[in-house]
Assembly symmetry: C2
Homo-oligomer: 239 residues x 2
DNA sequence: GAGTGGTCTAGACCACGCA
DNA sequence: GCGTGGTCTAGACCACTCT
């Protein structure tokens, strides 16, 4: 347990160890972890130290704890992942579950912008997904998603893709999305927007540019969402 | 230390006690709290329990800790408050400090919408502030702010109002903003927007509807921001 | 060196879920 | 009733800051 210079607390080392276990797939989504006491004796530290590492992981939503039952590797299910990363809601605050239609999946080579967003080589193989999301049967969001083909081989075989893509990334490829960076702008509907969202040209749209980051810190996905904010709004809580 | 039914952990009770101290002004912004050991013996609990309460408060950014020095009541300064609640940034991610001009302060009676947003009686006295925020000398955000005159008596005497209003709320009135709810839409510039932001009518704008909540859970401020997202974007990180 | 927050331990007891 | 996570304690030592 020596450290060269930086001084990494014990509970941080325990954290690193457990994150590695999840990244490698030793502990998979939805599985229960060994009990705090078991982990403690296995790793030769006190239960309090394991607990502190788990506190951090629970705060990052990497694991979920249930008193009396155990600690689970967090799953990116419909409710959890969608409600966490899909921020569109009704003005009264009620969250909605969108439906996906008109999905198009195509292969290609990364453009300059795409390679920059995904931190991959220009020209590397990528997969582009376009789809429209409906809320209450009305087209509301037009999404363009770009991912590395190397990270997600043969993803087109999973078509039709699920509503919550992050769940597929996790269960089929062992890729856990832990956070996202988004930039929002206002823009006007162009031809493709107008067609997809069935709105007049020039309708004001909320333009969301999102990069999703995985557990290992790599850029996993670049997504552009063009949202019609007629009936839904983008909801943010800063705490 | 009895509890009627809900079972409130000791550290929660300690938390409540300390929040009350801050709300009442016994401990003011920027001051240092008693040491963990002192608090523990004063309250008749162990240091670990005080520590756990402070952990929660630090996570909520109510206090700041500095190893070797002490624990301080968090201050809403330019950097901290603006960078926390003002989300506009350059596309490369760099945060900016805006400047405020063309400020108008007026008194009035709460409309139905205002009373609903601020949870006050319709017709209650309110103060309305309009101002334009410049970034790089260019008008970028047109804000309309509504607050209860009862909560902030004689606020007009502080004109010109500071860039970080939350700092004034805290230091002059003892009101701590702890979180905000925002709803974002895309909209088109109307007459007043065009004039304030010096853009053509019909320019797409990011419309932000924000309610700020204080330490005691009350709605403190309602703010509408209309942002020109030509050079700046609204940045969100979901972690 | 004295005082502060940060880490770590060992052990006790409580609340919860389940068989 | 057992095993799990959740709370609480008491005490030790470490890292940081200031004098």
């Amino acid at each position: 347990m020596d450290e060269p210079f930086g001084f990494r607390p014990l509970y941080r080392q325990v954290y690193d160890f457990m994150v590695k276990r999840i990244t490698e797939g030793t502990w998979k989504a939805g599985e229960t972890l060994p009990s705090e006491q078991t982990l403690a004796t296995d790793l030769g530290v006190s239960q309090g130290t394991v607990r502190k590492a788990l506190d951090v992981m629970a705060a990052e939503k990497l694991v979920e704890r249930r008193q009396g039952k155990g600690t689970y590797v967090a799953e990116h299910t419909e409710e959890s992942a969608l409600f966490r990363f899909f921020r569109m809601a009704r003005p009264d605050g009620e969250r909605v579950l969108p439906e996906c239609v008109a999905e198009e999946v195509a292969s290609g080579k990364a453009t300059a912008v795409e390679s920059n967003k995904l931190k991959i080589e220009p020209g590397a193989a990528v997969v582009r997904i376009k789809r429209t999301r409906l809320v209450d049967q009305e087209p509301t969001v037009f999404e363009t998603i770009v991912i590395s083909a190397a990270m997600f081989p043969d993803i087109e075989t999973y078509a039709p893709l699920p509503n919550a893509l992050y769940g597929l990334y996790q269960t089929a490829y062992g890729v856990n999305i832990v956070h996202t960076f988004e930039q929002l702008r206002a823009d006007l509907a162009r031809k493709e927007d107008a067609k997809r969202l069935q709105v007049p040209l020039g309708t004001p749209l909320l333009h969301i540019d999102r990069v999703a980051i995985g557990l290992d810190g790599l850029s996993v996905e670049w997504r552009l969402s063009r949202c019609h904010t007629g009936k839904l709004v983008y909801a943010v809580t800063i705490s």
